[in-house]
């Protein structure tokens, strides 16, 4: 059911660890959905120098976290913010329809971590655009 890339990121997750002195931490998801994702960012001069994750969730959730952290490393905050769940899913070579929400979770976790950093710095949090859970039919439809 999962692509080889998903299985590779699930079996060999990149950046799966805590960053104890993280500059921004974002946690999203809820236990009812069966997915919780936490993303840690180390930020210097508006650039994400390091990123890591912790995830309670299915294979797609783990792979999405792993891929997302890889994708944002070295990016500016603006660039990272623009990484959509679609981009994560595509980088993973696709996700089954019922698992798309897991990539949405990754997008949200990045946003949450960036906003956490911005708030710590006394800045305005950025606003969510379209996308995220809006286009996702995961929760509560059954």
């Amino acid at each position: 059911m999962y692509s080889e890339t998903v299985m590779d990121h699930f079996n060999n997750p990149r950046n799966q660890r805590e960053i104890p002195d993280a500059d921004g931490i974002g946690e999203v998801g809820n236990q009812k959905c069966g997915d919780i994702m936490r993303i840690f960012l180390k930020i210097h001069d508006n650039v994400i120098e390091d990123a890591s994750f912790q995830t309670f969730g299915c294979g797609a959730a783990v792979a999405s976290s792993s891929m997302a952290t890889e994708m944002i490393k070295g990016k500016t905050l603006e660039e990272a913010w623009e990484i959509s769940n679609k981009a994560v899913a595509e980088a993973l070579e696709g996700l089954p329809p019922q698992k798309l929400h897991c990539s949405v979770l990754a997008e949200e976790a990045i946003h949450a971590a960036i906003n956490n950093y911005l708030e710590k710095m006394g800045l305005e949090p950025w606003e969510e655009g379209e996308g995220s859970c809006a286009g996702c039919s995961g929760c509560g439809t059954d």
């Binding site: 069966g34 309670f56 019922q98 995961g138």
Partner: protein, 388 residues
Amino acid sequence: MENKHEIYLDNAATTRTHPDVVSAMLPYFSLHFGNPSSLYSIARSSRTAIEEARRKVAAALGADEREIFFTSGGTESDNWAIRGIASAHGKKGRHIITTAIEHHAVLHTVEALEKEGFEITYLPVDEYGMVSPESVEEAIRPDTILISVMLANNEIGTIQPVQKIGEIARSHKIIFHSDAVQAIGQIPVDVRTMNVDLLSISAHKFGGPKGVGALFIRRGLRIDPLLYGGAQEQRRRAGTENVPGIVGLGAAIERAAAMMSEKAERMKKLRKRLIDGLLTIPKSRLNGHPTERLPNNVNIIFDYIEGESILLLLDANGIAASTGSACTSASLDPSHVLLACGLPHEQAHGSLRLTLGEETTEADIDYVLGVVPTVVQRLRDMSPLTPK
């Protein structure tokens, strides 16, 4: 099997069709292929084979052969039992009693009836997944027409007190259906001592082929068909009979009944070894009843980690297992059975079900006991829920 290490511990999802069963089926594809309803002699072997299978199923269930009706599986049997009774007795009353932990083939059928104006009582279960006969008795109303309680649960293996429930149903003259899909070949099933009027079985759960099952319908019970058409199955279930499948069902149930008690003993020993070993992992708990459970069922929660991830890592190690039930594994829903047992959501997402089969060995169990702790540890390291 494609892997090096291949340990199949998902026998509640489906079983290997036993090669002897396949051999019994084979002549009915290309050699004795006649339509059993046909008159001519080349169709006679098909007819005879079906009736022979019916005798075997009847013998295994303690039923009369005219009480056995072949279907396309457990799902059809459950749907037929419930909808057929609702349709034939709906004028008498529109209340049905069932439990919160039935298979979806029962639950989604009664939910569909709910939309058509039936009222459904979903009986709760205790923390072990057990229904109390008292709660059945209390739920009975003057307009109750059907009680449906499964014999053994597919996720946690809990065996229900169906005999007592059957007595209560009979004393109130209410029709009683039991889904025995998981029980056949594991525990004795006798339709008379159980006091059931309807009982569902499915061949692929006990070494038979997929796509064939049966419904026991007690002699004299009025029930409407689910499938209308030709005059097959005493005009109660239309459709050209799946002759090879039915032959396979007969061969499999005969085999399963013959080896049951020996197998159950072996399963129980292996099960104990597996449960004892797994419970040495910290923050783990057994789901389901400690003693009143299917001999082959193990269902464990490991705190802080999620079910699908466990399965994927076990699979990478050549172990086939499941979380919840197979037919919902593609969905995101937590197990309705574990929720009904009182578990919180994150735990209802995280159970590991291992169901043993006749091929399972002690070496398999020991291999599994070597793999699981590592897998659990790895996922706990990854989980934001794991306390430091």
